[in-house]
Amino acid sequence: MEVKIRVNDVEVNATRGESLLEAVRRAGFHVPSLCHHEALEPIGACRLCLVEVKAGDKEELTTSCNYLVEDGLEVVTDSEQIRKNRVANLELLLARAPGSPKLRELAAEYGVAVPRFAPIKESALPNCILCELCVRVCAELGHHALNTIGRGENKKIGLPFNQPSASCVGCGSCVSVCPTDCILMKDTATTRTIWGQRFELARCKGCGTPITTVKHRDFAIENKGLPEDYYDYCESCKQAATSKRFASVAW
């Protein structure tokens, strides 16, 4: 259902029940965030998308990614209060991930020269901000291999019981979505190592170029309903075959 909200005193069209952050961004307003992805369920972990929302006579400072749009909301995306809170959250995130270029860029944008909090000394996964994007993407894909482990200051991301997991297919989607690039994935000519687990790579039948892991390919064959031979060759070999087919028609 189409509704109207006011963002920074500008009227914006939105859909009832959608993420406020997405509606605000679509209207062209800049709101920072690290843990939001449009294809995944928002959880409000990084606390950077804070905005001031006035709904009826209730006024609050809240994360916009997991705030659902309703008719007549009045939203402010930048104010002294918002900046102050975003800066505090940035400083806390920087203590977890001092080496993240994306976070440093954001900190510079918000004028954080020296963060108040010292970087944490020991971390199971250096530079991880526990945004759980990797956990959510893994669940969305249907693998459910990753999870959070422990609580409080011991909380970390990993495979259950820190043991190799049969659910992980080594697709690397967690690496793709990680905002601080803290997940290590290493490919050699024949294997991929990720989360301490080694996967055999499926290789092109023509030239031997690695395509993806064998488990990831098998997962695709099983679930995508496409012919199995689609997965046999690398993109260059497929292109060469396509061009040969075209050539046989052109001449």
């Binding site: 294809a39 969305e140 690496v175 990831h216 993109e235 052109a250």
Partner: protein, 144 residues
């Protein structure tokens, strides 16, 4: 879908036409594509490739914008969708999770994957005015 042709949607009359027997293999199209998709980080990956076939024959290959596209079927987050106005299959980078299945699934090899950015790269017909066709010096690529 009945009545729909490759690279064309209802209302859209133009198609990228590849004419391999006019191609001399100069790869100007690849350069034009790279420049057309340049970002602040540098030149883009070329979406069109020229392949030599046998002796002094070349075929230019680029996304066919398939009606029943394997990449769209493989995408787990509906990040690949057909733009009904232009007929192009487009990547919604906000929904893409970089799993790489589209690249693996495309049977023609026209889906590329930028390993550094961990994002797929595909022909978007430059939003309706393909640079490859504009710059082809031999009329081997036509936008008509």
């Amino acid at each position: 879908m009945p009545g729909e042709t490759l690279g064309q949607a209802a209302g859209e009359t133009k198609t990228l036409v590849v004419i391999p027997h006019k191609c001399v293999g100069c790869r100007t199209c690849e350069v034009a594509c790279s420049f057309a998709h340049a970002t602040a980080q540098g030149l883009g990956h070329s979406r069109i490739r020229v392949h030599p076939v046998g002796n002094e024959r070349f075929v230019q290959v680029t996304c066919l914008q398939c009606v029943n596209a394997a990449c769209v079927k493989a995408c787990p987050t509906e990040a690949l969708k057909r733009n009904t106005e232009t007929g192009t299959i487009e990547v919604d980078y906000k929904r893409c999770i970089g799993c790489g299945l589209c690249e693996v699934a495309c049977p023609f090899g026209h889906m590329h994957f930028d390993v550094k950015a961990r994002q797929p790269v595909k022909c978007d017909l430059c939003g309706g005015n393909p640079a490859c066709a504009t710059f082809c010096p031999h009329g081997a690529l036509e936008w008509r």
